[in-house]
């Protein structure tokens, strides 16, 4: 067991626990976007920053990737953490203003407006869909491509991947386009991702109900009737 202090409270946790897991277990809320139970930690969105150390050595780390250390002093909601988190939310809001999840997070952290040039991306490069595809769906159909400002997520050569089963897992976990899929009416979709991916129900016979994440699905309900 490892003993550490979170927000002044002495706690002990199992070895190998991350700061995020420890804090959440003891009831300290830390917002996240790119973290999901069952997927490997990635540290992409930086929303889960916490402050560790004391005095001049204090620094911000991403709690989802930082393992608990003996005697570590963690602050999950210090003024420095809150300031950093607000800035990150503002930046996320600037790149993906239509995302319901990001809007909700921003409003929960009192970020009422953002000062940056509005982009209308449909991706924050959090890598959730890539990890979902690789670690849960065992498909490895999508991945990161390019680098720098040209970095994007997609299939190799931008054509439908041979290993993609159209499970919809990537859309299900996406914080930028999640729940905006319009199922059997892809032309009405806001993000357009469904139009590109074609939801599993369209080829229902072929794939049956194999690992479909689209639930509840209007197409399925209509099918039943």
């Amino acid at each position: 067991m490892i003993t550490l202090t979170i927000n002044g409270l002495d706690l002990s946790v199992e070895k190998g626990t991350t700061l995020l897991e420890a804090a959440r277990f003891f009831g300290f809320p830390i917002p996240t976007l790119c973290h999901m139970d069952g997927l490997s930690p990635y540290g992409a969105c930086r929303l889960c920053v916490v402050e560790i150390g004391e005095g001049s050595k204090a620094k911000l780390v991403s709690s989802c990737t930082y393992p608990a250390e003996e005697g570590l002093k963690v602050r999950t909601a210090s003024s420095r953490v809150v300031k950093a988190r607000k800035m990150i939310l503002e930046l996320l809001l600037a790149s993906c203003p239509q995302s319901k999840i990001i809007q909700d997070l921003a409003s929960a952290h009192n970020v009422g407006q953002q000062r940056f040039r509005q982009e209308h991306e449909d991706c924050i490069l959090c890598g959730l869909c890539v990890r979902m595809c690789k670690e849960q769906m065992m498909a490895k159909a999508i991945g990161f491509r390019g680098r720098g400002e040209k970095r994007s997520i997609g299939t190799p050569f931008d054509i439908k991947s041979d290993v993609c089963r159209l499970c919809g897992g990537c859309i299900y976990v996406c914080p930028a386009c999640q729940l905006r899929c319009t199922y059997n009416e892809p032309e009405k979709a806001i993000c357009g991702a469904c139009a590109n991916l074609s939801p599993p129900c369209i080829e229902k016979e072929e794939f049956d109900d194999m690992m479909c994440s689209m639930e509840p699905c209007v197409a399925c309900e209509l099918d039943k009737d």
Partner: protein, 310 residues
Amino acid sequence: MDESAIGEICDKHVGDRGGLISILEDIQAKYGYLPAEALRTLAEKTGHSLVDIYGVATFYKSFSFKRRGEHLISVCLGTACHVRLAPIILEEFERQLGIKAGETTPDKKFSLETVNCLGACALGPIVVVDGHYFSNVNTRRVSSILKKTRAGLDKIEIKGDQRIFPIEVSCSRCNRSLMNPGHLIDGYPSVRVTVSFNQKHGWLALSSLYGSHNVSSEYEIPDDIVVNFFCPHCHAELIGASKCAECGAPMVPMIVRGGGVVQICSRYGCKGHMLDLIGKYKGLCLNCANRETCTFPIPEGGVWQCDEYC
């Protein structure tokens, strides 16, 4: 697409997780670009997923999915080159070739690319053509660079190339001259030595131009064998203690007139050589026409970048 060729390239880097980039480099060297089919074969052979391979291939700018031309022209647009008007040089290339950066001419001769920095900012603006660096390029030189490229850059221009200069050598044992004015190679007296290999014993004439690898010999010498060198005067074997940096074969030392030692690799066909001059002039000064009248201070190690000095 030749599957066995891809297999061969993979086998060369087998069991090496970091070998992916080397494999991609080899495929690109073979085809000039990365064909989609080759990447699929590679994914099958190595067990990497296609997504990972594609991610690596798109991450590095040196990999290309489009067929490139015979010659690749890279114009540096890094900060230092940019302020020395590299964009105008790029425009001049675009105008003369009739293509935009990132494109290939319809005859598949030239591909034009921009790079962000080559790390040799003092020499800027820099243009690299097929691995040959052109420094301090201006728009007037663009057409001559293209002309040289069309003629073939690997052909060595003996008169114009500063890196090539004649040396006179003598035996490291008896100090008698090895020069043979009766047999000219590259227009200069050749260096005559005796060689033995595979129980054959005959003469070998080397070009005395440092940087030229032209030779002629009594018997035809197969590539890649290590040859024993002897002095034609004292018949002592010319063998040094050091090994070739490129292939590991023993080096053959010869004394350079004016001070210094030149060492050549004893493996036939290997181009490893080393020149160590202990004379008054080192580096670029050695071959500079103004070396006697130069007013600039010459550092002890010689001048290796002489634009400021001459």
